[in-house]
Each structure stands twice: as structure tokens, then as C-alpha cells.
């Protein structure tokens, strides 16, 4: 893997000047993943913050061939591109020694929800591509509506913390496990605060033959009601509280890639975020406890599987 110094000398494939918010987790994720390709790369992006923020005509922040077609079909679109590559290579219209990597980016709405079918299809068919989900926990681009990735009890515009219902009532969908159930050769969870871990996983994924998947925690100051300058800090805390465990599944073997030296209480992560403000009142203490219990349960399940063939 490249060192930080080496990475800093590589060409920037997503230029500055795009319109993503200050403190958004997406650009560092995209830049690290693109750098890990270390060669020709073609990408697609589902409708969402990344697409809207990087390509307002006549400008584009992408210095690689890139396409956006719709919301629910990033995996199907990349399937078409990757298949065209194989077809044209076979017919000699692309040099045999040219090796292009293919990446699809999508947010949690475009991946966990509306894009799940296309993703499942592409994984099952075994296209040679990497799917990167930047999970910021809601439909941030349309104004913070709940998705199936939204954390427990989170206050969103469609799961508001009201007088009767205190935010989102359902536990989040565990997409990484769903992807792993497709028996893909490589899938992992990562976070932009740990650039080395994310880079390593992206590199591994991009150098694996077949469909691979990265689910990356992506802080969103707008939807989390946090300060832009603190984003990376809260990304780190999502991992240190074990809300967002870093792990990978390589050829069926699960490996926890980071164990916090000291597992922080969940409330440390929730407290600074406006979306969980209502959980900090004395009457909602049972909800907070319930949330913590579930996080502990999920973390333990993962630890039980560490090093095992799943």
C-alpha cells in the first residue's frame, strides 16, 4: 500500500472546486478509493449528493471517465460498462494490455434502498467491479429523509422526533451482511478517519477479481447537525463506540480489522449530533439504553465471528 507521502503525490482524480458541503465525508472517501485504483479507472455514481455536487454542467470535478444515469441503477450501469469492456477487449478494440478498473458509488439511499435490487443482481452475476456505498445515514441530498440505513431513533424529516414517536423506530439494515451473503470475494466496512485502513481495503477490493464491496461511514454535518470541522472526529467515534465496526470478509473469512483499545459508550457519539438530541432527555433514557444494548449485541456477534468462515 502507498504511504501517505506517496498518496499525496498522486494525481488528484476528483478535483477541488466541487459543490459538496464543507465537512462532507464523501470527497475524502472518493479520493482515497480512486487513488487506490492506481491506474485507468471508470466510475458511475447513483443520483445523490456526490453526483449533484460534482457535475453541475458545464463543470465536472471528475478527471476520469464518469457517468450518472439514475438513482437505483449504479450497479446495473457499471455492469453494462464492465461488460462492454470485456466485449470490446475480446474484439480487439481495446488493447489487450490495458487494464481498467470499474467503480460504482452510491449513497445509502441509492444502495440500501432503491438500488438494492440492481446491486444484488450485479453481485450475483459476478461483474468485475467495486461498489462503494457512502453511508451518511439518510437521504441527505433531498433534505434528510430516513433510509433503511438511518440509525435507531434518529431524527430525520420523515422520522421526526415528535411528541409521540421519538425518531426512527427501526434498527438499520445490515447491508454489509446482505452483500456478504452473495458470496462475493471481498466486502468490507471502512471509515474515512482511518485513511490507511480504507485505502488498504479499497486496494484489496480493486485487485480482487469479481464483485467487491465497501460500505463506508460518511459524516454529514447537514443531516447530523454537527460542525463541519468535526466530521472526521465523529467518524472515528462511530467506530470507537462500535456503532460502525471496521471489518472485512475475504473469501468467506471474517476479520475484524480494528478493535478499539477502549470501547467508548455510544452516548459519546450521539451527544454531539443534533439528530439524537431527543435521546439525551431523562425520559428517553430507556431508548438510549436500548440503543446501547443493540450496539453491544451487534459488536459481540461480530467478535464471535472474527477469524471464522461465515
Amino acid at each position: 500500500m502507498a504511504t501517505l507521502k506517496e498518496l499525496s503525490k498522486q494525481d488528484e482524480l476528483l478535483s477541488g472546486g466541487h459543490r459538496l458541503c464543507a465537512g462532507c465525508g464523501i470527497p475524502p472517501i472518493v479520493r482515497l478509493v480512486l487513488r487506490a485504483a492506481n491506474g485507468p479507472v471508470v466510475a458511475t455514481t447513483a443520483t445523490g449528493c456526490l453526483e449533484v455536487g460534482t457535475t453541475i454542467y458545464p463543470y465536472t470535478a471528475w478527471r476520469i471517465p464518469w457517468i450518472h444515469s439514475a438513482f437505483e441503477n449504479a450497479a446495473a450501469t457499471i455492469s453494462g460498462i464492465e461488460t462492454a469492456y470485456r466485449a470490446l477487449k475480446k474484439r480487439g478494440r481495446i488493447p489487450q494490455d490495458k487494464n481498467i478498473k470499474f467503480i460504482a458509488f452510491g449513497g445509502d439511499g441509492g444502495t440500501y434502498d432503491i438500488g438494492l435490487q440492481a446491486l444484488s443482481g450485479a453481485l450475483e452475476r459476478g461483474h468485475n467491479f467495486l461498489y462503494v456505498c457512502y453511508d451518511n445515514g439518510a437521504y441527505m441530498n433531498t433534505g434528510i429523509q430516513r433510509s433503511s440505513a438511518t440509525p435507531y431513533f434518529s431524527n430525520t424529516t420523515t422520522s421526526p422526533a415528535g411528541k409521540v414517536i421519538p425518531g426512527k423506530q427501526e434498527w438499520r439494515k445490515d447491508l454489509t451482511r446482505i452483500v456478504v451473503a452473495h458470496n462475493v470475494p471481498y466486502a468490507a466496512q471502512a471509515s474515512p478517519h482511518n485513511w490507511a485502513d480504507l485505502s488498504k481495503k479499497a486496494e484489496k477490493a480493486l485487485n480482487t477479481e469479481g464483485p467487491t464491496f465497501l460500505n463506508v461511514m460518511s459524516p454529514c454535518p447537514l443531516g447530523w447537525y454537527t460542525k463541519p470541522e468535526d466530521s472526521i472526529k465523529w467518524a472515528k467515534l462511530s467506530v470507537d463506540t462500535c456503532y460502525w465496526p471496521l471489518y472485512e470478509v475475504e473469501n468467506g473469512i471474517l476479520k475484524v480489522t480494528y478493535r478499539p483499545r477502549e470501547k467508548k459508550p455510544l452516548v459519546d457519539w450521539l451527544k454531539p449530533q443534533g439528530r439524537f438530541k431527543h435521546l439525551l432527555t431523562p425520559e428517553n433514557k430507556p431508548l438510549l439504553d436500548k440503543f446501547q444494548e443493540r450496539v453491544d449485541f451487534e459488536w459481540q456477534r461480530l467478535l464471535d465471528l472474527d477469524g471464522k468462515r461465515i
Binding site: 458545464p58 471517465p65 457517468i67 457499471i78 453494462g80 461488460t83 466485449a87 470490446l88
Partner: protein, 396 residues
């Protein structure tokens, strides 16, 4: 599937003929999903792939939405791309149809016409392709298996023409044409290959040395300009359709225009109708002509773009026109073909009387007697100059 020819002719179903044309075209990529009645196209084609008769990359996607999405990805990557579908499949693609045309991608789709749910029905009508009529796709309709087969080759040339660069939909009637065996003439493999040529895209996603961005967001400052360009391109494609139809005729002896007219030159009354039902109507025309009635037919081949001027000229001397739609636009004012023809005739000084009749939905038979009845009604309108019922369902 083995194809046996006798005296240059071969008996094929519409689906088998389309699959055979696809085999001869040998596209780079074919993303597809099964749906009745178009399934056999992809089944036959999968056989060609499995036997190595083509080296196309088949993507057996998990939905029609993904089929069209993969078509878009592959086409933007510089591949020649084809797919086929019907009914709900086309409806599920609807979102992506607009994106394919908006991105000016020359994708080819065969739509085997089938009714839309509800109620669910697997038989023929045109509500599927009519639902996609404003999606920016060029639409070619086919009366026979031969025409559907011939249209597919022309579709490739039209779509990829530098002045056009738009997706093309070839439509044929579900079951009536897709499952009926007809004796057709096949084009020689080498000539077919030569006719369609090789697709050389001007730009594509796999040219990593020259990165391009497809599908950027366009705001009010420029969105309408993109649509204006697209609108001009589809309007201009009419000339290309004619040019390719002529070239096809020169090479293979079967010339195609924007529409077909049948005994229309001196006709007092005429039926305008799409696809296979035109064949039935021609039988009625012949029978009534024998009885001395001056009746004729106009069968549009190109529905998008709609050849307004040419159709106006062809119908200007007719006294009464019946436009028969195998789809209802639910406007309360007749079918989609009727709306276009009626609009086309508006600029005439002396306009023919015109009626809309909706027939054959969900595969209901349209018989010679149905056409004869419409001609009878048109004749009364010709005599009296009065339209009593502007729009109604027939074949009920």
C-alpha cells in the same frame, strides 16, 4: 436454432427472425430479461451465444430496468447494444428510456407489443410502445415478420447515423407476428454485416486518456438547449429513415418509406392502422374495391418522429378517414395515432372527416368484417358529410 432455407425463403416466427437478425448483426453487448411474448428472442439469441455463433456478451439482468440501465452503460462505453422486451418490461424501463435518448445513445430495442396491466394480459395491443412514444426513441412499426426482420438492420444504421444518434425501437405485434411463422427472405450473412458496418463511437467511457462526463446535472441555464438539440435530431431523423430505407431497397430489393399506402391514390375513404392489422384491413380493401367502393389504407411505419407533412399529403384527397388504434390514450378523445393524424390534417384547406376507433385491446381479434364495418361507416360519413360518433371502441 438451425435455419433451413428453401429457394431463398425460410419459415420463421417473428421472434426467431428478430433473433436471427441479431445473430447476423452480432452486437457487442445484449442485456436482457425475459417477458412474454418477446422471451423467445432472447432464448434463441442465448442459444447463438452458447453455441459460439456470435461473440456478443449477454447480460442476463435481474429486471428490465437494469436491462436498459446496462444498455446505457454499455452504449456509453462504446459498445453496440441491443435488447428486447414487451409490455410491463417496457413500462419498467420507462425511466431509463428517456435517459438513453437524452444521452443520445444509439441503443436498439425490439418491443414485441403486448397490453399493459391491469388487468394483466399477455396478448397484443400497442399500449406499451404508445406509452413510450414521447420518450425520445425513434419508433418503427412492422406489419410482418419480414418487415420486423428488415427493420432491425435499418434501425442500427438509423440509430448510429451521425446526424441522429438516438435509440430506436422496432415494434411488432405480440403473438400475431412474434409467434406466427411466415416465409421470409433472409439477407446473406456477409451482406448483413456489411450493411450495418462497425460502430465507431465518437467518444466513449473506455477512452481513459480522454475522460468525459456523461449525465451531468443541467439547470435552467442549459437544460432546454439539450432538449432543443434532441428535438431537432429526432425531427431530422426522418430523412435518415428514408435514406436508409432506400439503400436497403437497393441492396435487398425491399424498399421502406415512412409509411405504406395501399390502394389509397384514388380512395374516397381510408383506414389508418399500425402493424399486423393492416394485413387484415388490406383484405377488406380488396373485397370492397371489388364491390366498387373506393377504399384504401395508410399504414405508418415511422411513428416517432411522426411524418406529419407526408401523411397530410397522402390523405388530402380522402373524404373520410378512420384511424384505428390498438391503444387508448385515455384522453377521452380517441387513440394516440388518431390524435397525430387528426392534428396532421388540421392545416388542410379542405379537411377530410375523421373518426377514432379503438380495436383489439388485449389481443381481441380484429377481423376483416371489422374493417368492412368501419369502411361502411366512413362511406356514410362521406355521403352525409356528418360524423355522428367521433370516437368509440369496436371489436367489443
Amino acid at each position: 436454432m438451425a435455419i433451413t432455407m428453401t429457394k431463398g425463403q425460410v419459415g420463421l416466427t417473428g421472434n426467431a427472425a428478430i433473433a436471427y437478425a441479431m445473430k447476423q448483426i452480432n452486437p457487442d453487448v445484449c442485456p436482457a430479461y425475459p417477458i412474454t411474448p418477446s422471451t423467445a428472442i432472447i432464448e434463441d439469441f442465448s442459444g447463438y451465444v452458447a453455441d459460439g455463433a456470435v461473440d456478443t456478451e449477454l447480460i442476463t439482468v435481474e429486471s428490465e430496468h437494469s436491462a436498459m440501465s446496462a444498455c446505457i452503460g454499455a452504449s456509453a462505453a462504446g459498445a453496440r447494444v441491443m435488447t428486447a422486451t414487451s409490455s410491463q418490461g417496457l413500462a419498467l424501463m420507462w425511466e431509463m428510456l428517456y435517459i438513453a435518448s437524452g444521452m443520445r445513445l444509439p441503443i436498439i430495442l425490439t418491443d414485441v407489443n403486448r397490453a399493459l396491466s391491469a388487468p394483466i394480459n399477455i396478448h397484443c395491443d400497442h399500449s406499451d410502445s404508445m406509452g413510450a412514444r414521447d420518450s425520445g426513441w425513434i419508433q418503427l412499426y412492422s406489419e410482418t415478420v419480414q418487415e420486423a426482420y428488415d427493420n432491425l438492420f435499418q434501425a442500427v444504421r438509423i440509430a448510429e447515423h451521425r446526424k441522429v444518434l438516438l435509440p430506436v425501437m422496432v415494434c411488432l405485434d405480440g403473438f400475431i407476428t412474434s409467434h406466427a411463422i411466415e416465409n421470409i427472405s433472409l439477407i446473406d450473412d456477409a451482406e448483413a454485416k456489411q450493411f450495418v458496418g462497425e460502430y465507431i463511437p465518437r467518444q466513449h467511457l473506455l477512452d481513459t486518456d480522454n475522460p468525459i462526463t456523461y449525465g451531468a446535472m443541467s439547470l435552467p441555464e442549459n437544460y432546454i438547449e439539450f432538449k432543443h438539440e434532441q428535438s431537432r435530431a429526432i425531427a431530422g431523423s426522418k430523412e435518415v429513415v428514408l435514406e436508409i430505407g432506400k439503400e436497403f431497397g437497393k441492396k435487398f430489393g425491399r424498399e421502406y418509406g415512412l409509411f405504406e399506402t395501399y390502394r389509397l391514390d384514388d380512395a374516397d375513404t381510408a383506414i389508418v392502422i399500425l402493424n399486423s392489422a393492416a394485413g387484415t384491413t388490406k383484405v377488406a380493401v380488396d373485397a370492397l374495391r371489388k364491390q366498387g367502393m373506393k377504399v384504401g389504407l395508410l399504414r405508418p411505419r415511422l411513428f416517432r418522429p411522426f411524418p406529419f407533412k407526408e401523411i397530410t399529403a397522402a390523405l388530402k384527397n380522402v373524404k373520410a378517414v378512420g384511424v384505428l388504434d390498438r391503444a387508448d390514450s385515455m384522453s377521452g378523445f380517441g387513440g394516440p395515432l388518431f390524435s397525430e393524424v387528426r392534428s396532421a390534417l388540421y392545416d388542410l384547406e379542405a379537411r377530410p372527416k375523421i373518426i377514432s376507433r379503438i380495436y383489439g385491446l388485449g389481443g381481441r381479434d380484429y377481423k376483416v368484417k371489422d374493417a368492412v364495418e368501419v369502411f361502411g361507416e366512413l362511406d356514410r360519413i362521406r355521403e352525409t358529410g356528418k360524423v355522428e360518433t367521433l370516437t368509440k371502441y369496436i371489436t367489443l
